[in-house]
Amino acid sequence: MTTNAHKDFLLSLKNLKLRSRAAFPKLSKAVKEISISQGIQAAYNDLLRAEVIFGLRKPSLAVYDQAFHFIGGAQKYGLTLISALQDQFDITIIANKDVRPRDFFDWYNLDLSRCKIKIIKLPYFEERKAFHLDPAFISNEVKNPFHLISQESGSYDIFVNNSMNEMVYPLSNISVLICHFPERRPKSYFYADHYTYVIYNSRYTAEWIEKKWKFSPHQLIYPPVDMEAGESEFPKKKNILSVARFEPEGTKRQEEMIETFMKLNQEWPEIVTGWKFILAGGSNPGNRYLSKLEEIIAKNRDQNIELKINIPITELKSLYRESTIFWHLCGLRHDDPAEIEHFGMTTVEAMQNKMVPIVFDGGGLREIVDHGLNGFRVQSKAELLECSIKLLRDEKLIQKLSQSAQEKAQTYSRRKFEARVKAFFDEILKRITSFE
């Protein structure tokens, strides 16, 4: 019954393609049959598909993210994807809180004025006045608040879920889940395996999708990183730089890096003469972890350590251009895979600016930094010291590694990201515009 109804429908479509008006009642009958056997949504999807096959309209694509209303790396990923597809699709951005195209331009320098924005407020989170719509709070004892998004997904040809939220059941013909990391294990309202395609941002993420969700994702598309310094060479200063959010739980390990720099200063001051350690990153007000770091630095004023909190992008860019070595220890002493860098955007940004990265040996950073070729990967503070000393004592090594780092970083440029996205969605387009 199921396949017959679909076959009839496709046959009717083909007949219609031959402009046979006699096929209209057959089409209507097929739609009714599909409605009965597979549900109204399946029939609706077939009609949407018919419109696209006959070129009656541009294919529609909706991109949802429950966190579009604030700045984030995952959101930049989704919005850059939208910007690459604006010409091919009629795009709707679905958010849960008020946000304007102007915000996207200010936050990510992306012009998305050709896209529609649809705000769907979720009563469950509105009643609780929640700014962050965290699916982790939803158990099967409450009604799934994200079903409103699931229902909306059925109005488009392609639905893309860019959020860390596997509680949205996709109803569209083609659905794509962009998995930035599988944070939760399958529990109540788990629908990640219902998507037609799952895109992942690193092999590390893919490994954990297989371990936690028990299926293999489909397509690797590395995040776009566009912090290139440009053609001109900039004089480098004796700066060691760290760029990471000051997470209140200290997961980015800034304290450990400060300790390491202080150790170098105390035990071997000659080797760090003239070197400065700069820690840049964003923070919310009232961050206790940041206060602790400020206190440590204030007590050790002579150590040449500087904090740069919530600095504008222009200042960050010049820090990248001027600095020589990049430290990143996120993941150190963590056994929870979610707390290890899933990809490592800031490391790539540093490499694009000819900095030599010394990073934690784990997560997505293993794919970015090749130990000894374009930087170093370390598993402890002692190894961080060891590799830093190696660099501080050998200027030629710095030059060699920084050159290779810049070359490797090109793999993750925005241009390459857009090319990969276009190729992937071209395949999808072929699929939805054919009778097969």
Binding site: A42, N140, Q151, L171, L264, W268, K381, R393
Partner: protein, 172 residues
């Protein structure tokens, strides 16, 4: 083609109206969408285990009492409800009195199990703290060693340089 577009639009509008009336996703797709997933604790990370243990412990405390709470017995019937509830409660109360000694034993056992789990968890937490301190100490030694090793390398290379340099003193 225009007629086709119209026909498709008409069918879509028809389905749209029906879709609006249906709020249950299951009905929309004509199948069950929710499933049960087992908890594979052996795959859990330390953090996941901690959350899981905390959840299980709190539910253990809730279920210590073996006797069901008879206050939960209610009825929606207007007139007949009260006597039915009275009879049900009375029946259960008498039955419980007969098996009270068994239930008391079970409750005691449940309480002890809950306390035991709590104690084991505390012990694990103490050990984790201890291990963290040891790790920190080891880390300090490793860091010092890394510096000393490199300083030694530097001294050796300086010594080599000195050896290769001609000296001003004539050999004795």
């Amino acid at each position: 083609m225009e007629e086709l577009a119209k026909e498709i639009r008409r069918l879509k509008e028809e389905l749209d109206r029906k879709k609006e009336e249906i709020h249950d996703l299951k009905k929309l797709v004509n199948k069950e969408i929710d499933r049960e997933f087992p908890s594979n604790v052996e795959e859990f990370s330390e953090k996941e285990l901690e959350t899981y243990i905390r959840e299980i412990l709190s539910s253990l405390h809730i279920h210590i009492e073996s006797k069901p709470d008879i206050r939960t017995i209610t009825s929606h019937r207007k007139t007949l409800g009260k006597p039915i509830v009275f009879l049900k409660r009375a029946f259960l109360e008498t039955t419980f009195n007969c098996i009270d000694s068994f239930l008391d034993k079970q409750t005691r056992f449940n309480r002890q199990i809950a306390v035991l789990c709590q104690a084991i968890l505390l012990r694990v937490q103490h050990n984790i703290e201890r291990m963290k301190k040891v790790e920190e100490k080891v880390s300090h030694y490793e860091e010092n060693m890394a510096i000393l090793k490199n300083q030694l390398d530097e001294l050796r290379s300086s010594q080599e340089q000195l050896k290769s340099c001609p000296t001003d003193h004539p050999p004795k």
